[in-house]
Symmetry: D2
Subunit: 382 residues, 4 copies
C-alpha cells in the first residue's frame, strides 16, 4: 500500500531518500518516540506484543506489516514476542498497530526529519547575510530593540550594536496588538526604518513576520525573517518563508520538543531554502523566577543532530536584564553559533519588554565578555 | 499620559470600564502576575521596594506613578516600603517600574481580561447552534472522526453520533500536511461532506479553520469554527473568526496559562462575537504515559472566572482510546458544559489519530455512562 | 555474567520470574524507557545501531549481549541494523550499550515492576482496614484535618466524617516543623488523640510517618501509614513500612513518573506487605492557578497497569477548597477506589492548609454528590 | 497572637530578625508567592478584596489583621479595595485570609528565608575544605565515579581528578539498592576506600548521606556531606547534617522551586553550620532528550538572592556523557562556583550511570576548557 500523499520533495526528486511523507508534524506529539505512532508514515518500527498472546494475534500483526510492504521479523522471547517491521525505499502509510488486539506497545526507530539531520549532511551549515555569519565556528550576534519605535531609536541602536561587534540588527515592525490601529500604522514604516538603519550601518536586518500575506513585504526590507515561538507550527507560514528567498530564524515553541522543532525546520528546508537558523529562547516549566527556563544543553544536543546553526536568545529565555549577560556568556561557552539580544537606548522608556532589555553600556559589556570566551575557545565573531 | 492605543472596544463604548488597552497577550508571559509587568497597561499595581531604600528612590517611583495618572499610596513597613498604584477610569500606559532603582518587585492586581470575566457578566453563557447547546446546565456532545475521509465514513459517523445522543459532528477538512497536494484536494470537498452529513442528520458541524484566508469558506459550511491549540495565539485568525458570524470553539494551547487562554477568547469577544466556547485538551508536562496531561480542575476554576462554556477533549487530552470514556465521565462530573470526542467507523483504519478514536460501540457506551452521571447531577444533554 | 545483587524476593523464591534485580529505582530516571538504560538490569532490550555501521561494531554488541547470557537477534534493515537482546529466566546485569561505538539508541521492553503489575495478579486488590475498604468496586473515603490540634477538633471531625459516610480519619501527628520543640510535643499525643477518635467512632486511622525510627510508634496507634510525597523515594522508610504490619497509603511525588511510583510500591510489596494503596495528589507543572495539577487519567491508566487501589487527594491536588468537591466527584467518575479529603471544624482557624480544607457542611455535600455518582456507576462506599 | 512555635534560632537569640517561624517549608508550595499563604507565618502581605465588597467584609479582614499584631493599611480603589498588612519585629502566626468572605487573593511580600539571603549577608561565602574552595571568585571541582567500586577504581580516579586540577573526590558509598545485602556490604568499606584515596592524593572527600543514622559514620570519613535530590526536603536529615560539623552539598530536588531549595539550606544554616553549597542538577520538564533540564540561569539568579556558593552538576543535569563538557564550560561562564562531574576509569564497565560518566581523558579535556574560560573571566580554580 503505497502512500497516497507523497511529499512534494519526493515528487520533485524521485528516488530521493525522503522518508516521511504524510507524517504530520503535530503539536500533540508527545515523546521522541510517539511521533511515528500509528497513523503516521515511517519505515521501520518495533511492535511489542502482550505477554503470552495467541499465535493468531501475532500472525495478524505480521500479515498487516507485510501488506504494507514491510518485512516482518518475529522475535519470540520467553515471555513476550516482538515484531520488527523493516521497510525498503518505498513510501508506505503505516496504520494503527496500537489498536490491534494483543499489541502492548509500538516503537518507531528512525528520526522523522531528514534534510535537517546531520546524518544527511555531516558538515555544519554557515548562514551568511551581509556581514552576519553564524555557524561552523563563527558566532553571529543580533542586537536591537523589541519594537521599532522611531528613527532615532533604531539608528542609535544599530550604531551601538555595530560598535560592540554585532553584525545584525533586530527590531519588531509587526507586533501583535489588541488594537488594529496601532498594528496597521506600524508595519511598513517600521520596516523602512530598519532598512534605513541598515543603510547607515551595514548591519543585516532581522525582523519577525507573522502571517503569510506579509511575507513579500517583509522580505522586501529584511535580510532574515524571524518566525516567532507562537508560529513555530504555522505550516503555511513556514512554507511561505521557505519560498521567500530570505534566511530564516526559527524560534522554538515554548513547549516544543526537539523533534517538533526540527520538523518545523524541515518544512522550510523542503521548499529549497537552506538558510535556516534554530533559535532556543526558553521553554515553559514550573519555574517562576525566570520568564522561561533556558535549557542550554539544547546547543550541543542540536549540534549532534543537525547541521543547522543554533542561536540563543538570553533575553526572552530569562526575562530579566540582569541575567542576560551571564546567559549570553554561557551560551557562547556551550557552543552557540549566535546570540539574539534585546537592547534599547533607554530600557525604562521602552514601549515593550523594557525589563529584559540591556542599555548600550550593558550590551557592550556583554559583548566584551563573550568575546573573551569566544577567543579562549578559538572562535570568531561574524 | 493617556494610552495611545485604546482598544477598539473602548473606542466603541466610551466610558466603559475596559481596562486593558495595549496589553499585549503574549505566549511569553509567564505567571499569572507577569502579564501586567512594566510595558503593559493596567490600572493598579503594587510596587515592592528593596530593603532600606533611600526616600529619594521611593519618591521617584511615586512621582512616576502620579505622572501616569494613578494615585500612589505609600505604605512604610519596618523593613520595606510598598507603593500601591491605584488607577481611575482613564486608560494609562504603565512603564517599567522593575528597572527603577530600588524596586524589588512589581505585582499587578486585576485580571487583564474583561468581557470573558464573570465579574462583568455573572450569568453563564449558553452557546446554541441548531440542536447543539452548551452551558448553563446543558451538556453538548461533539463526536466524529479526526479527518473527513469519505462520504460513507462521515455520514455513518454522524448517524452514530446522533444515535448516541450527541448533537454536533466534528471532522477535519483542513489538516496540516507536508504536501500541498493532499491539502488542496481535501478542503472544500471535506466541508461539503460535512454539510451533507448535517443535512442527513441535523447535527451542527464543528470543523477547524487554520488561516485567515480560509475563514469565509469554512464559515460557509460550518456552524462552529474550531481554533486549534497551535493557533490559540494567532491573533489575526482570532479576529477573523470573531467577525465570522459563527460560534467558535477555542482550544487551549498546550503550554498556555488560563490568563493567556482567556485573553485569546477576549480577542474573539472583542469583535462582537459572544459565542465562544473554551476547550481544555490537555497541557504538556513531564508525564509520558499520556499524550498530554488533562487537568480537569480547569473546569470548575474557569466556571469561577468566566461565564463562557467549558468543553473537554478527552481524546487529545489522553491520546489513548482506552482512557477516553473514563475521562469523559470525569469531565461531566467536574461540571463540563460539553465534550468533543474522536470516533471512527473503524479506528484501526483511520487515516490519522486512530489510536485515540473510539469505535461506534465504545462511543455509545461512553455516552451511556455520561448520561447516567449527568442525570444524577441534574443536568441534561443538549 | 549472573547478577551479583539478586533481589531479596528472588533469593526467597528461587525460580521466580522476578526480573529486576539491581535495577535502582531512581529519582533521576527520566522517561518510561530510560529506567532500564545501561547499568541497570533487564531481560530484554532493543539496541538500534547508527546508520551504515561497520559489521565489526554490530558484532561487538552481539558478542556482549551473548556474554551476558542473552540471545541476540540481528535485524538488518536497508539503512539501519537493530539488535534485539532477549533473555531467559536468569538474572543478568546489563552494562552500558549506549557508550558502545556505533550504538544510536537502546530501548528496554518490559516494565521494571512485577509484584505491583496486573500482569502478575490480574484481579484487583481490595485493602480492608476496619470499616474502611478500597478497591474492587468499593470506594473508601478518608476525611479529616491536616493536623491534629485538639481532642475536640479531632473527635468532632471524626464524627462528621462518619456521619457523611466516610470510613477513615486522617490527621497529621508528625508534621515537618522548623522548631524541634513543636515537633517533639505533638507526636505521640496526636497519635493518642487519633486513637481516641477511632474509639469513639470506629473509623480507621490514617496518619503520616516521616522517618524509620517513628514507624513502630506510629504503627502502634494507626491503621494505615501514609508515606508523604516528599518521601516517596525514601527507600529505607518504604522498607520499614513494608515490615510494619500496617496498610500503606503511598503518595505520588510531585515529579514522579508512574514507573517510579510503582517501583516505590514494589519496595513495600517486596517486604511481604500486600496492603498498598497508591494516592494521586497532583504533579508540578507550569500551571499556577492550582497548587498542583491533578491528572485524573492516572486513575484508569493505573487500573490497567496495577491491581493496587488508587486513591485521589483533591485537597492537595488543587489547593483550593472551592475546587475540592468538583474534583472529588470527577475522581469517582474516573473510577477512583477512594478519596482522601481535608476537612476541619473551622477552616479559617486551621493551623495549617486551612485554605484547602472543607468545613463539615461542605464535606457532607461533597459526599452526597459522590454518592449519587457512585450509585449511578454501580459502585458502593466502604 | 504570638506564634506558639518560635524557631530555635529565635529562641536562642531573642530580638533577632528571624521572620519565619512555623512557616513549614513544603514540597507542596507552588509559586514563589504561595509559600506564605494563609496558615504560614509572615510579616506582611497584601489582601486583595473582591470587587464591590461590602465594607463589613473589609472590616472583618482589617480586624483580623490587627488581632494578629499587624498594622492594616486599607487602600480603596475605584473598583477594588486592597489591604496591606505590615508587621513589626514580633513573630506572628497568620491564619487563612483566603477563606474569608470577600477575599479575592492574598500575596505575601518578603522571601521566607533569611540566613541564606544576600540581604542579610552581602558578601559571598567561600566554603573551604582541605585544598577545595568554592565561592567568592574561586571555582572548586569535584570529580569521581558514581559509586565506589574498588580500591583501584577509586584511587585511580582520585589521581586523575588531581592531575586534571580538581580538588575534591566524589564517590557513592551509600547507594539505594533493591537488595539489603549489597547495601550492607558497601557502606563503611566504601567510606574507607574514599579516605584511603584522600590519603594518597590530599583531595577532599564528598559523599552522599541518606539517613540520619548514618550521619556520624559518614561524617567520620567524609569532608563534605552530600544531600541527594530525593532528600532535599528530608528535614531531619537536614538538621542532622547541620549539626555534623561537616560542609554540606545540597542538591536541588527535580521539582523544587528556588524558595524551597533556599529554605532547605536555611534548615542547615539554622543549626549553626555556615558551610552550605547549593548544587543545581537539573529539573524535570517535558523534555526527553536529556535526563533532566539543566537551567543555568539558576546560577546568576542565586548569586543575587544568596551568598552561598552555587555548584553545577552537568552529569545528572544532562544524563549523557557527550553533553557534559559543554555544559561544564557553560556553567563556568555563567558564574558557577564549582562543578561536580562523574568520571570513571572505564565508563562502559561502570556499575551505575556509566552512560553519563567521562573517562579520564575526557575529564582532563573538560578541565582544560573550563580553565581557559575561568582564566579569561579572571577566576581561579581552588
Amino acid at each position: 500500500m503505497v502512500c497516497e500523499n507523497p511529499s512534494k520533495e519526493n515528487l520533485k526528486t524521485p528516488g530521493s531518500l525522503g522518508f516521511f511523507c504524510c507524517a504530520r508534524p503535530n503539536v500533540s506529539f508527545r515523546s521522541n518516540l510517539s511521533y511515528l505512532l500509528p497513523g503516521k508514515c515511517t519505515h521501520r518500527m518495533i511492535v511489542v506484543m502482550d505477554q503470552n498472546v495467541a499465535d493468531e494475534l501475532i500472525d495478524n500483526v505480521t500479515k498487516r506489516v507485510q501488506e504494507l510492504g514491510l518485512k516482518a521479523h518475529v522475535i519470540r522471547g520467553t515471555e513476550r514476542t516482538v515484531i520488527a517491521a523493516v521497510g525498503d525505499e518505498r513510501m508506505v502509510k503505516v496504520e494503527s498497530f496500537e489498536s490491534f488486539p494483543g499489541v502492548a506497545e509500538v516503537m518507531p526507530i528512525l528520526a522523522p526529519y531528514k534534510m535537517a539531520s546531520r546524518e544527511l549532511k555531516p558538515e555544519s551549515t554557515q548562514v551568511k547575510v551581509g556581514p552576519f555569519r553564524a555557524g561552523a565556528g563563527v558566532i553571529g550576534v543580533i542586537g536591537g530593540p523589541c519594537s521599532v519605535e522611531s528613527e532615532e531609536q533604531i539608528v542609535q541602536s544599530a550604531k551601538a550594536v555595530k560598535a560592540a561587534g554585532g553584525t545584525a540588527l533586530r527590531g519588531g515592525a509587526f507586533k501583535p496588538r489588541t488594537s488594529p490601529y496601532s498594528f496597521q500604522g506600524m508595519k511598513e514604516e517600521g520596516l523602512k526604518l530598519l532598512a534605513l538603519a541598515r543603510q547607515e550601518t551595514g548591519l543585516a536586518v532581522v525582523t519577525e513576520v507573522m502571517s503569510t500575506e506579509d511575507v513579500p513585504l517583509v522580505a522586501k526590507y529584511a535580510d532574515v525573517l524571524q518566525i516567532g515561538a507562537r508560529n513555530m507550527q504555522n505550516y503555511r507560514l513556514l512554507e511561505a518563508v521557505g519560498r521567500s528567498g530570505r534566511a530564516v530564524l526559527l524560534k522554538r515553541g515554548p513547549s516544543a520538543s526537539i523533534e517538533e522543532w526540527l520538523l518545523a525546520a524541515e518544512y522550510i528546508l523542503n521548499e529549497g531554502n537552506p538558510d535556516v537558523m534554530l533559535c532556543e529562547r526558553g521553554i515553559r516549566t514550573f519555574e517562576t523566577h525566570t520568564r522561561f527556563t533556558l535549557p542550554l544543553a539544547t546547543v550541543p544536543y542540536l549540534h549532534r543532530k543537525t547541521h543547522l546553526p543554533v542561536i540563543v536568545d538570553p533575553s526572552h529565555g530569562t526575562g530579566h536584564s540582569y541575567l542576560v549577560a551571564d546567559m549570553a556568556a554561557a551560551s557562547v561557552a556551550a557552543g552557540a553559533d549566535g546570540l539574539i539580544v534585546e537592547m534599547h537606548p533607554n530600557p525604562e522608556k521602552a514601549m515593550s519588554d523594557g525589563y529584559q532589555s540591556l542599555d548600550f553600556k550593558q550590551f557592550q559589556e556583554m559583548m566584551n565578555r563573550c568575546n573573551v570566551i569566544a577567543k579562549a575557545l578559538g572562535k570568531t565573531f561574524g
